[in-house]
């Protein structure tokens, strides 16, 4: 009798613990799935937030650049054209002065002619800087060639340009972006990187056009995000996203910069 009751308690104990184990394992599983789901949703939300934040930053950089560009144009107009036209205007008024000698008239007219020519040259240069006419008339290839030539003519830097792609002239808007990216990259290489050798290469991979840009400048630490998130880089990034491409940067301190981006 005693042994039977002992057996019974043992049995009850064993069954109880099995049941307890089942229930606790089940509870652990349910809790795990509940919290995991919550966490995964949170991760997704964070990712989306980050994306939105990134977009906002891009938009901001576009606006800032636009504002800077306006300022630059205003300054160019003010410094180069307004001041010269002012001189022309003063000289023209001087012509009205009575009893001018022949020499004086000659000098004033020469001044007027010189300054008008200067102003004309300046206005041409400003227009050229805003949108190089070559780009519009002869396409991206010629535009870049001209840009490279301009840089090469300074003798401070040697830019090599190779192109195997025939750019379609109907895609001028995209080409303008590519042109601006290269302008910005060249500017960065010389201004921040002190580069002396720069190479620009266009190749076709499948149906994608790929641009490989590299310099021998100072380079920068890729792990330092401050380097990558300057206004210039953001602009490049937003332009690449406009033309539907992707890009990659490879650089290390004193190791130059290599940037590859693609577009259609």
């Amino acid at each position: 009798m005693n042994s039977i009751s002992l057996e019974n308690t043992e049995l009850i104990k064993a069954v109880f613990f099995i049941l307890l184990a089942f229930i606790s394992m089940f509870l652990i599983l349910v809790l795990f799935f509940y919290f995991s789901r919550k966490k995964i949703v949170q991760i997704e939300v964070d990712k989306k937030k980050l994306e939105i934040e990134h977009q906002k930053q891009l938009l901001k950089s576009v606006i800032v650049t636009q504002e800077e560009e306006r300022q630059r144009i205003a300054q160019d107009l003010h410094d180069d054209i307004s001041s010269k036209l002012n001189v022309v205007s003063i000289n023209s008024h001087l012509l009205k002065t009575p009893n001018l000698t022949k020499d004086e008239v000659e000098e004033i007219t020469n001044n007027i002619i010189n300054f008008t020519q200067n102003a004309l040259e300046s206005s041409r240069r400003i227009a050229h800087n805003l949108l190089p006419p070559v780009l519009e008339k002869f396409g991206l290839n010629a535009g870049i060639e001209e840009l490279v030539e301009e840089y090469n003519s300074t003798k401070k830097v040697k830019v090599v340009f190779e192109n195997t792609i025939n750019f379609d002239s109907s895609n001028i808007e995209k080409h303008l972006h590519v042109f601006r990216i290269l302008q910005e990259l060249l500017n960065n290489s010389i201004k921040h990187g002190n580069a002396t050798d720069i190479s620009i290469q266009f190749i076709k991979l499948d149906d994608q056009k790929v641009c490989i840009y590299s310099d021998n400048g100072l380079g920068f630490d890729l792990n330092n995000t401050d380097n990558q998130k300057g206004l210039g880089m953001r602009n490049i990034e937003s332009r690449i996203s406009f033309i539907g491409g992707k890009y990659s940067i490879d650089s290390k301190p004193n190791g130059g910069v290599k940037i590859v981006f693609n577009f259609k």
Partner: protein, 210 residues
């Protein structure tokens, strides 16, 4: 019997492999290596106890379980991140051993009996830590993920096996004996498989870095 020998050999090889990178790796790795070595030693001694000293090995399960609990608690203490998780872990690490040891102090006879409560109390927290680690790993780099899965899988199943073993003892289904023991051994092989993958991942990752 033969199967369990293979198990000891596998376990010993695994311990050796883990010892190769012992000083190169972090705290979690060291604790884990000590854990698998300790378990192998306890297991081997307890299996030989009767043939060497004519002592029944029933009390070694207490050592095994307590050792496993303490070592794996330390192991997860190095892996778990949040304060709450560590708070739970450390409080259990203090309370549980005191509770279990005081039971034997008050009732020494219990030391020579297999205790279901002990099995339950020492494995459940480890399973919870393992699940916590799995949860932490959802969006972070996956440290010891294979070892964790191995531990979880084995503890999940072995807890039921130990409980069923007790049920079998009550009913005296002795033909059931071998089936349970063999299942346990096969589960251990699977566990070692996961531990081996874990070792490979750590070893070759280190190798690449060097």
């Amino acid at each position: 019997m033969k199967l369990s020998y293979y198990l000891y050999i596998t376990s010993a090889i695994l311990c050796l492999l883990y010892f190769i990178g012992f000083f190169r790796n972090g705290k979690a790795y060291k604790i884990f290596t000590i854990y698998i070595t300790g378990v192998l030693i306890i297991d081997f001694i307890s299996s030989r106890l009767y043939s060497w000293f004519k002592i029944y090995n029933i009390f070694t399960s207490h050592f095994y379980e307590l050792f496993q609990f303490v070592m794996l608690s330390y192991f997860y203490a190095t892996l778990l991140k949040t304060k709450q998780q560590l708070y739970i872990l450390y409080s259990l690490l203090i309370i549980l051993p005191i509770f279990l040891l005081s039971r034997y102090l008050f009732n020494p006879q219990m030391f020579f009996q297999y205790s279901l409560l002990e099995t339950y109390l020492t494995t459940l927290p480890i399973i919870i830590y393992g699940v916590m680690h799995l949860y932490n790993n959802l969006n972070e780099k996956k440290e010891f993920q294979y070892a964790n899965i191995g531990i979880l899988l084995y503890l999940f199943c072995s807890t039921f096996i130990f409980l069923l073993f007790e049920l079998k003892n009550v009913f005296k289904f002795n033909e059931f004996d071998n089936a349970l023991i063999n299942t346990n051994i096969i589960l251990q092989f699977i566990k070692f498989g996961f531990f081996f993958i874990q070792w490979k991942v750590i070893y070759f990752k280190k190798y690449e870095l060097n």
